[in-house]
Amino acid sequence: MRLQKEKKEEAEGDMTPMIDIVFQLIAFFMVLVNFTKVDNDASIILPSSELAKPPEEKLKHSIMLQMTADGKVILGGELLDLEGDDLDSRLFRERRQAGDKLSEVAIIIRAHRDAATGKVQRLITRCQEKGFVRYQLRAKEKL
């Protein structure tokens, strides 16, 4: 029997379609990726609202205060007690930093949807005691 010599040649798959797709995927993820550091706490599920639209212009001076479902406050990545002195001194520092631009500083409240309203209000009151006047209640967009 005679062996067919052609069979010895390497079977070469066509790579082109695969590379096409892989590049497409890379382009897709590259475009969508954002490296902006968000300090949003993942454990906080925001209440949703159909009126919650992302603001057209970014707030110049803002302080993000987050509240977990059990009423703890997160400020700058630190978990603080709502009635504690730590929160007080932190807010005081922010207040001093704001200087005379106090009316421009917006306090963004990101509270968990199950947090007690009284606690959220208490948090606002504590900021009011420091003199802040602008508040933004954050909600996620309902589509």
């Binding site: 790579m15 590379i19 892989v22 590049f23 995927l25 890379i26 993820f29 590259m30 969508l32 990726v33 954002n34 490296f35 968000v38 949003n40 925001l46 209440p47 949703s48 609202s49 159909e50 009126l51 919650a52 639209k53 992302p54 603001p55 509240m67 106090l102 917006a106 963004i108 509270a111 968990h112 949807r113 199950d114 947090a115 007690a116 309203t117 009284g118 606690k119 959220v120 209000q121 606002i124 009011q128 005691e129 420091k130 003199g131 802040f132 006047v133 602008r134 508040y135 933004q136 209640l137 954050r138 909600a139 996620k140 967009e141």
Partner: protein, 166 residues
């Protein structure tokens, strides 16, 4: 001169393997760093600071008070606007629309409303956001574009009823 046919007609073959290695690395990197950020929006409210520094407003807005009570588990029990009991936030929205109709001419703009929200201490926060949504405005399609029509944007909070359970 003799042209060597054999060697020259051979296809130049690219080494695909290293490129594919790198490309897959890139792909994996971008997949790993991919995070979906939900769209978030804000409700702006103005509240005076501790020292009563706000000046008297010339035209005092008509004040509406919204009272929300809670069950023991923090869910909404009742919803009352100026003594009118309601069952849902949709009803509240309709009532607000009746008080401040959309596009009723400039006359309706003279009527300035302010809503004061008073809720039970343990009421879940999402109810407050829902109430603000019902009062604040309406999302409407205008010429194919989503637009938000503002109804009442003055919102205040009154002292919550009840206190911490501890």
């Amino acid at each position: 001169m003799k042209v060597r046919k054999g060697a020259k007609s051979d296809k130049i073959e690219l080494q695909m393997t290293p490129m594919i290695d790198i490309v897959f690395q890139l792909l994996v990197f971008f997949i790993m760093t991919f995070n979906i950020v939900e769209v978030e929006g804000d409700f702006g409210i103005q509240l005076p600071g501790a020292p009563a520094q706000h000046t008297e407003i010339e035209v005092a807005p008509v004040k509406l008070s919204l009272r929300m009570t809670a069950n023991d588990d923090g869910t909404l029990k009742s919803l009352t606007l100026d003594g009118t009991k309601m069952n849902s936030f949709e009803q509240l929205h309709q009532l607000i629309l009746k008080k401040k109709p959309i596009g009723a001419g400039p006359a309706s703009d003279d009527l300035d409303f302010e809503v004061e929200i008073q809720s039970d201490y343990k009421l879940k926060y999402e109810n407050v956001i829902q109430a603000i949504t019902a009062v604040r405005g309406k999302r409407q399609k205008v010429a194919g574009k989503d637009e938000i029509i503002t109804l009442i944007d003055k919102i205040r909070f009154a002292q919550p009823v009840g206190g911490p359970e501890n």
